[in-house]
């Protein structure tokens, strides 16, 4: 609608990448220079799996642009005291003053050395959700690259709000930083706590909707009936944190109650370590000369090296082996003499024998018959033996998948879940095959845009892995980052993403408490940059976190509005945001979640409207900082190398490099990126500049669907998946233990227990009770589980201050308070809308009761992350948050450094009711 006839109406193509489930296409309708509407970009209908559409969050971007609470000029703090009760006294200053202040501070820091006396970087930076801020920060990554070492370990929820263990183990086992079902053809999906209909983005929503119409079955296993549960054929309300037991029982049914030939025997035999012989010491039996693991050749009745040509090894069985060796931690070689060698597969069968559905039923509060039925349905739907043809190549068709959500996939029990999930795929050959369980991207390995190229041959017939060293000579005893990721977490490696995936809560915890006196003294960063992140809300134990943040000496926040973290900042820099600045992003190929396309390419984010107030394009800010720091050449060199993302400016057949000695405008920089990326993508056939992109928005080239599946690549390279037996992890864990104990560090011993060759069930939920006891609390005082769940309206959107999101989210249950089972509420005398207190042993959070049947009686659920106290608009919502009352706890941190987003709590009715609530 339009009240007066406009002079000009334009539709500006751009992208939304507010969460990792994007990027997705959209257009901005601009009427006489004012952005009025977000609309899909139907020009992308045929290349984008979601047909050019964006999710509800993007529709808030108009309000985001014109929000009266925006910070529209650089501000400096005038109150030197920092704290929740200290008004920061921000006053506007010029960009010159702001940039010069930062440059002087950084120069002084640099003069003292980029690494401080404790061996960690003096400059720290924290960015929000899953790398998405990078797609809004222009060329700032080039500035960071020009600077040198930076500590990214002050997390804002990484490891506790993501599918952390999947990132690490997924990438280890099948180059799957995120794991998805191949929804385009799946017929049966077991979804444990995954919430793709909320957090999977338009591509996942579209595909799962298509799958429902096709008649696939999805079983949602989760303590509450989430949006995804609502859209599933079946809901299994499992007891919190007992998912490993459930999955072990599924494996049990398939391995013990079915014949071996119902499984995908060729896949197990040829693509996995199942035939590797394991000796009595639990290590592979290896050829004494070559150290290669042995397999049993039934034709000749001898053990041979795994890569012996022409051998069809025994999958199961126990065989006499003589003259073999085993290699333990720290390269301890042992002559094994005459021993029995058991195939890894037989070890698995033996191991899983004790985990029957009847055993799991009591733990999971799920009937054994249900577990057994689901396992049988899964096996049948796997259609072992079926094939499909993709681009002329015949591949197995295994239309079954198991997907895991946050809190199943992080913290204790997550290793077991990840292993069991991957094994469920392995048993039927569904791992990385059409229809099956597939990885979509890599982040700990390179290159990020092609996981197939990250597959290199390593030892023992497996992929090469880039673990942090645990051997005596190379173990990083002295941490290089404040969360000790290289020291404590071998599997996380040490590439650009590794630090932020290390145990990010440790960086915060160690500021308060040093676990070991002989570790270097914890230091604060001299300068801390923050952007699109609000750890004071989005991490745990936020009241304590705020106090820590207040101690940081110099914090520079790129700030949209005031929030609970930048309340402690020294400088606020307002950047031109989503609809006001220019940047390019890779689209398609295979990326996070269900972003695997039949095309790959690039898309432009461009100013649809003039930047509001005195906000500036992030690339301009970055260039200015580099220039004022005297790092211009290094900065431009980094851009030329491709540090701004998308593409290097110089390639085999093109050169659009920038003059490194000059300051370039954002338009000049991104024009070069436009040209370089199109030339590179088209292999020299086409070159498009910024002007072309401003009109067309994106450029793609077709991509074969074969790139979705890793198994053909593994087969081509003659490699095996490192499953089911985790000999490497066992050895690495032992080595890590040796190193830590050599340094008298015993506080990580519990985490070392996770390094098992075949994961055992242990009382995972009991860990939360034990933690209560250790904290001096009584278990019976905290009888309920509190879980956090994602909401599409808010997930990763940084949009709690957007009125539209508040309004539309109220249509969906749970966005007004705490979801409580109606019978539980009745027991506590709580009615709909009553104000309730949810209290853990460290604090309390408050909100309105939302009564439901679709939640376990022993479980409460809070959506999103709220409880704001500084951010305009958001601070008036009076919404509760799990983060306020979840402790950061070493004993609840698993070996990967992650924690589960769950807390044991008590519930109490408060006086009074929420205004406007009807009974």
């Amino acid at each position: 609608m339009q009240t007066a006839e406009p002079k000009s109406v334009k539709r500006i193509p751009t992208y939304c990448y507010n969460c990792v489930s994007g990027p997705d296409f959209m257009t901005v309708k601009v009427v006489d220079g004012v952005a009025t509407e977000i609309e899909p970009n139907f020009a992308a209908e045929n290349v984008h799996p979601a047909k050019g559409k964006v999710c509800v969050k993007a529709y808030g971007l108009v309000q985001k642009t014109y929000n009266p609470n925006r910070i529209l000029a650089p501000m400096k703090r005038t109150n030197p005291k920092k704290g929740r009760d200290e008004d920061p006294g921000f006053v506007p200053i010029s960009w010159d003053e702001a940039l010069d202040t930062i440059a002087e501070r950084l120069k002084a820091t640099r003069a003292r050395g980029v690494i401080d006396e404790s061996g960690v970087p003096r400059l720290a930076a924290s960015f929000g959700h899953g790398g998405t801020p990078a797609m809004y920060m222009g060329t700032f990554p080039a500035f960071l690259a020009a600077w040198g070492p930076i500590d990214f370990s002050f997390g804002s929820g990484q490891g506790v709000k993501c599918v952390h263990s999947e990132h690490l183990y997924g990438e280890f086992w099948h180059r799957a930083f995120t794991v998805a079902g191949d929804t385009t053809s799946s017929q049966y999906v077991i979804s444990l706590g995954a919430n793709v209909e909320s957090s999977g983005g338009p591509c996942a929503v579209t595909r799962h909707a298509d799958a429902r119409i096709r008649g696939y079955k999805r079983v949602q296993v989760e303590p509450h009936l989430s949006v995804t549960g609502a859209c599933s054929a079946e809901w299994v309300p499992i007891r919190p944190k007992t998912d490993p037991a459930f999955m072990f029982a599924l494996l049990h049914v398939m391995l013990i109650e079915h014949n071996q030939d119902e499984l995908d025997v060729p896949f197990l035999r040829d693509r996995t370590s199942s035939p590797y012989l394991v000796g009595p010491d639990g290590l592979y039996l290896r050829d004494a000369a070559t150290r290669k693991p042995l397999i049993w050749d039934p034709a000749r009745n001898i053990a041979v090296a795994f890569d012996t040509a022409g051998v069809v090894p025994a999958l199961a069985g126990c065989f006499p082996v003589s003259g073999a060796i085993s290699v333990n931690a720290d390269d301890a070689v042992r002559d094994m003499g005459n021993v029995e060698g058991v195939t890894a597969f037989s070890k698995l069968v033996e191991h899983i024998g004790k985990y029957s559905p009847e055993w799991a039923a009591g733990i999971c509060d799920v009937p054994a018959a249900t577990i057994r039925r689901i396992a049988n349905e899964y096996l049948e739907a796997a259609s072992v033996g079926a094939t499909t043809v993709i681009d002329g190549v015949t591949l197995p068709l295994r239309p079954v998948a198991v997907i895991l959500g946050k809190s199943v996939n992080n913290g204790w029990g997550a290793y077991e879940c990840c292993w069991a999930r991957t094994m469920l795929a392995v048993l039927v050959g569904a791992l990385e095959n059409p229809g099956g369980t597939i990885g979509t991207t890599v982040r700990l390995n390179r290159p990020h845009d092609n996981r197939h190229k990250s597959v290199l041959a390593g030892e023992d017939g497996f992929m090469a892995q880039k673990f942090n060293p645990t051997d005596k000579a190379n173990w990083v005893a002295r941490p290089t980052g404040r969360n000790m990721h290289r020291t404590l977490v071998p599997i996380v490696g040490n590439t650009a993403w590794s630090q932020a995936l290390g145990p990010t809560q440790l960086a915060w915890m160690f500021q308060r408490e040093q676990p070991s006196p002989d570790m270097p003294k914890p230091t604060l960063p001299d300068v801390w940059f923050i952007y699109r992140t609000n750890p004071a809300i989005s991490f745990w134990d936020t009241p304590t976190l705020v106090k820590t943040i207040a101690t940081f000496p110099f914090t520079v926040a790129f700030a949209y509005t005031l929030d609970e973290t930048n309340y402690m900042a020294d400088l606020l820099l307002p950047e031109a945001t989503d609809l006001e600045s220019v940047q390019m992003i890779r689209v398609g190929g295979t990326k996070f979640m269900e972003q695997f396309w039949d095309h790959k390419g690039v898309a432009l984010r461009q100013p649809a409207v003039a930047a509001q107030g005195d906000t500036r394009d992030f690339s301009w800010v970055s260039t200015q900082l580099a220039s004022r720091m005297g790092l211009l050449t290094e900065y431009n060199d980094a851009i030329n190398r491709g540090a701004a993302g998308v593409s290097p400016l110089k390639g085999a057949n093109y050169d659009f490099s920038l003059d490194p000695t000059k300051e370039h405008s954002p338009e000049t920089i991104w024009d070069a990126v436009c040209r370089a990326s199109t030339t590179s993508l088209s292999e020299g056939r086409e070159t498009h500049d910024l002007e072309w992109f401003k009109e067309h928005g994106f450029y793609t080239v077709p991509m074969s669907r074969l790139e979705w599946y890793l198994s053909p690549t593994m087969e081509k390279m003659g490699l095996r998946y490192e499953l089911p037996y985790q000999e490497r992890l066992l050895r690495v864990g032992r080595e890590l233990g040796n190193r830590l104990h050599e340094h008298k560090m015993s506080w990580w011993d519990e985490q070392l227990s996770e390094y098992a060759a075949l994961p055992e069930w242990h009382d995972v939920p009991g860990r939360w009770d034990a933690a209560l006891v250790n904290a001096g609390a009584k278990v019976e005082d905290f009888p309920l589980w509190l879980l956090a769940s994602k909401s599409m309206q808010y997930h990763a959107g940084g949009n709690v201050g957007i009125e539209l999101m508040r309004e539309v989210s109220q249509n969906i249950r749970g966005h007004s308070g705490v979801i409580i089972n109606a019978s539980t509420a009745a027991r506590y005398g709580i009615a709909e809308g009553d104000r309730v207190e949810v209290r853990s042993h460290i604090g309390a959070t408050y909100g309105a009761a939302v009564l439901a049947q679709g939640v376990r009686p022993d479980t409460l659920v809070i959506l999103g992350q709220f409880d704001h106290w500084a951010q305009p608009f958001a601070k008036d919502l009076d919404m509760p948050s799990l983060n306020t009352i979840a402790p950061m706890s070493l004993e609840l941190t698993d070996a990967t450094g992650s924690g589960s987003d769950v807390v044991k709590v008590q519930l109490r009715k408060m006086e009074g009711r929420m205004e406007g609530v009807q009974a």
């Binding site: 009427v31 009025t36 509407e37 509800v56 014109y66 859209c231």
Partner: protein, 215 residues
């Protein structure tokens, strides 16, 4: 004859409110006023529970009770099936609001904006005083349908002339088109599915079809 209808596939809908937000953007409705919304309905008792997401808006009835009661002829039923409101005739008596069994209509008696009394630029530009204190509801994005008549494009096929909610839907739950045309997308979809219309027993002959299973 033409009758434009919407089909909503309940099997697909995920309750995301993208259509709700898109509608608010397309029609510049004030805060709290939703010409369409997706309801979240829980049925059953633990553990046998279902949640269903139900998009609701004006049903553009063939026999609209709102039109019957309207004393001013502000509400009319068009030849193409759309139920329209002439804001300049409406006296805001709310009789139509009471007559509608779908809770599709609303009246706002004073201007208000997302962040208080002062409109955002995007709100100021599109603030329409004619819509204050009169009855409002989903129009099926009537401007676009009217544009189709001029440009020859086909509503439901070409996005420029298709309602914003239908365009925005990320689960593909909604289709729009002419039910009188047996070849239209909606006719074909209805032929292959089981569906119902809400409150049909009231004789309203609604123009929104809810799909729930294959036929």
């Amino acid at each position: 004859m033409t009758r434009y209808v919407t089909t909503i596939d309940l099997r697909r809908c995920v309750g995301c409110q993208t259509c709700t937000a898109a509608c608010k953007g397309a029609n510049a409705t004030p805060p709290g006023i939703q010409w369409r919304r997706v309801l979240d309905i829980e049925t059953g008792e633990f553990p046998d529970v279902r949640r269903t997401f139900l998009p609701m808006a004006c049903m553009h009835c063939a026999n609209p009770p709102c039109e019957e009661v309207c004393p001013t002829k502000a509400t009319t039923k068009r030849a193409d099936g759309l139920v329209a409101i002439d804001y300049d005739l409406c006296i805001g008596c709310a009789n139509c609001v009471m007559a509608c069994p779908y809770d599709a209509r609303s009246i706002v008696h004073a201007a208000h904006f997302s962040y208080g009394d002062k409109p955002l630029p995007s709100e100021a530009m599109r603030f329409d005083p004619a819509r204050v204190a009169v009855s409002m509801k989903c129009t099926f994005c009537v401007d676009r349908i009217d544009e189709a008549a001029v440009t020859g494009r086909i509503p439901g096929v070409h996005p420029e002339v298709t309602p914003a909610c239908v365009n925005s839907c990320i689960s593909g739950a909604m289709e729009f088109g002419d039910i009188e045309d047996p070849e239209s997308n909606v006719s074909r979809l209805l032929a292959g599915t089981q569906h119902f219309r809400m409150h049909e027993e009231l004789g309203t002959e609604p123009g929104v079809y809810y799909l729930w299973d294959q036929s």
